[in-house]
Symmetry: C2
Subunit: 346 residues, 2 copies
DNA sequence: TTGTACGCGTTATCAT
DNA sequence: ATGATAACGCGTACAA
């Protein structure tokens, strides 16, 4: 039992081999998991020696030799945005299952592709969930690791894993309509992000299908303040011109909307129903608790890992992979209610 | 301009050297940042060649040679816990400033030290912010990278970076007392975590100092449900036995407390004032918005990075480093108010 | 100022 | 079934 810190030279396969009385290359084979081409006796001796000496693989040496790092990077718009919590959990889960380590990084605005290059030195593949990934800013540099988009699509040449946005938006529409609402509103993220437009289009067409009117609509950046500001204009409208129910197609939009309503003295859901998209713990603790459509974020994160791994192996991928299972789920909490305008005609 | 994906062999220093007409070792020196021992002309030719070919350092090769990876790991109790948002931002900031990449990992219960070993293969140092790090479970394995605790202390042999917990708790106490409250309560995290006990002790002694009584106190796990359950018992107490104001010494405690109060039909802050510790965006959007003491989390994260780097360099560290600047700051929002019991005696 | 030579730890290939 | 060897890309001590 050597004292750590001190002179503690690294234990290498040479040491293990020496103790087990075999060549280092055999030790490498055995500890690398090769089952054949070695007698049971030596196998055991090698494992014992490795354990005795406390051998651990040297990631850098292995990487250099094999040309692969067993690391994946994921770029998110902002670290600890609750809307990404589920996806990151899925990434973490699937990566661990595939024996990969995950490097997280914030995709700060304007530096999208710089970050891709920097991380490419370290990892085998990249999962890009940043809103920068809209393909409108810059081209992809040459020296970049295999990259897949998550929860977004549209960067030329990069395959994407997306969720059932259209179905989720339709569920939100049907929920409001089934509550008797006929004058609807919709608040989405920036139209430059296709995820937002897919949600918007699906909501609009489902509303039309059921004969509901969409009397207000806006697109805002994905932060609470921007949403609140846009919603403030809506809640200031006279009652007859306002929607009685709004679909807020992102978590930040839901929060901004509810805040604006409260500030204007409107009660949610009595005066205005709000249904969100995406879920998080915070949706339960606000008041009223948010009725929302939960997307299969964990599955999406896992699917992203599996597919970036395919990409790394050189397999061909379809341009867009939609995760449809588990299906989006309507979580009814407190922010939606029947359309009172219909029953109490005042 | 080579097509990516295709046969694209890696660009090495040999290629760069060849194009610049020098030995690869010179290219290594120049691109490694060595300023002397080379003429200006060759310097330029090498940079040009590197740029032209799109050379990027090979992290694994460099690591193997230098015995260092330029990567740091940080272990948090749960990914995307908003209470860690600030600290992680600080870690990310300082790491980037020191040209290090950050690997995030969840410190799942009971696997604390396993995770340390696994990550040690990849990184130069570890920042351990998991609540597992209480030193009561297991001993530190020998083959572990230099490790520093963050927002916790007490694991034998590991230096710790902590925040101004005592001062923060005192500020909370003084705030409630200045509002006229004399019967106080306190809800902290598990006593096995020294951060919780430091906050508790400071609150208790500050209350005593000002002659306020602490009529209720509890310690719970760091999740909303546990806090809510404990608080439910308190709000069920008759009015005369209840505190009129409670210090919830963690974000999850604040939320659980407010939920329990609302469920019991109590109004916050009219019937019960709540002051929290730690801040996050979610504290603004709940209702009432949480009055809380903001801790210097970003600075703490940065300090953790700087000190783990010192540890890696072999420097000696004091067992505990308290970050005192910026000072904790009381953010008065809506969850505290004057003690009405005193004015309206009913 | 520039070049040579070697080794970091691992693993794939080839020989025994 | 086992062993010897070379090479991954880089950085550095040393020689020229």
């Amino acid at each position: 039992m050597t004292k750590p810190g001190a002179g503690a030279r690294r234990v290498t396969l040479r040491d293990v081999g020496a103790l087990a009385g075999v060549d280092p290359s055999i030790a490498s084979r055995v500890l690398g998991g090769e089952m054949n081409r070695v007698t049971e006796g030596t196998r055991e001796r090698i494992f014992e020696a490795a354990k005795e000496l406390g051998w651990r693989p040297h990631a850098a040496a292995r990487s250099l030799r094999k040309g692969t790092t067993s690391m994946l990077a994921v770029i998110v718009p902002s670290l600890y945005n609750p809307a990404y919590s589920g996806m990151m959990k899925g990434v973490q889960l699937a990566a661990a299952a595939e024996d990969h380590v995950v490097v997280f990084s914030e995709g700060t605005a304007g530096e999208g592709t710089r970050e891709l290059e920097r991380l490419s030195e370290y990892v085998d593949g990249i999962i890009w969930a940043s809103s920068q990934a809209d393909g409108h800013d810059e081209a992809l540099p040459a020296s970049v690791a295999p990259t897949i988009l998550l929860n977004r699509q549209g960067f030329p040449g990069l395959p994407a894993v997306v969720g059932p946005d259209a179905e989720g938006a339709r569920m939100a529409a049907r929920h409001l309509i089934s509550l008797g609402h006929t004058r609807l509103g919709v608040l989405t993220g920036p139209t430059s992000i296709d995820t937002a437009t897919r949600r918007l289009d699906a909501f609009l067409s489902e509303a039309r299908l059921y004969g509901a009117q969409v009397v207000w609509q806006a697109s805002v950046e994905l932060d609470i303040d921007a949403a609140q500001q846009a919603a403030a204009a809506m809640v200031a409208l006279p009652r007859s011109e306002r929607p009685t129910a709004v679909f807020a197609a992102a978590l930040s939009a839901s929060f901004g909307l509810i805040n604006a309503a409260r500030q204007a003295g409107l009660e949610v859901p009595a005066d205005l129903s709000v249904v969100g998209l995406d879920d998080a713990e915070v949706a339960e603790i606000i008041s009223p608790p948010l009725t929302t459509v939960r997307m299969p974020h964990v599955a999406m994160g896992m699917e992203a890992v599996r597919n970036v791994l395919r990409l790394i192996r050189g397999e061909d991928l379809p341009p867009t992979i939609e995760v449809t299972s588990p299906s989006p789920e309507l979580i009814v909490r407190g922010s939606t209610s029947n359309n009172l305008d219909r029953t109490v005609e005042r």
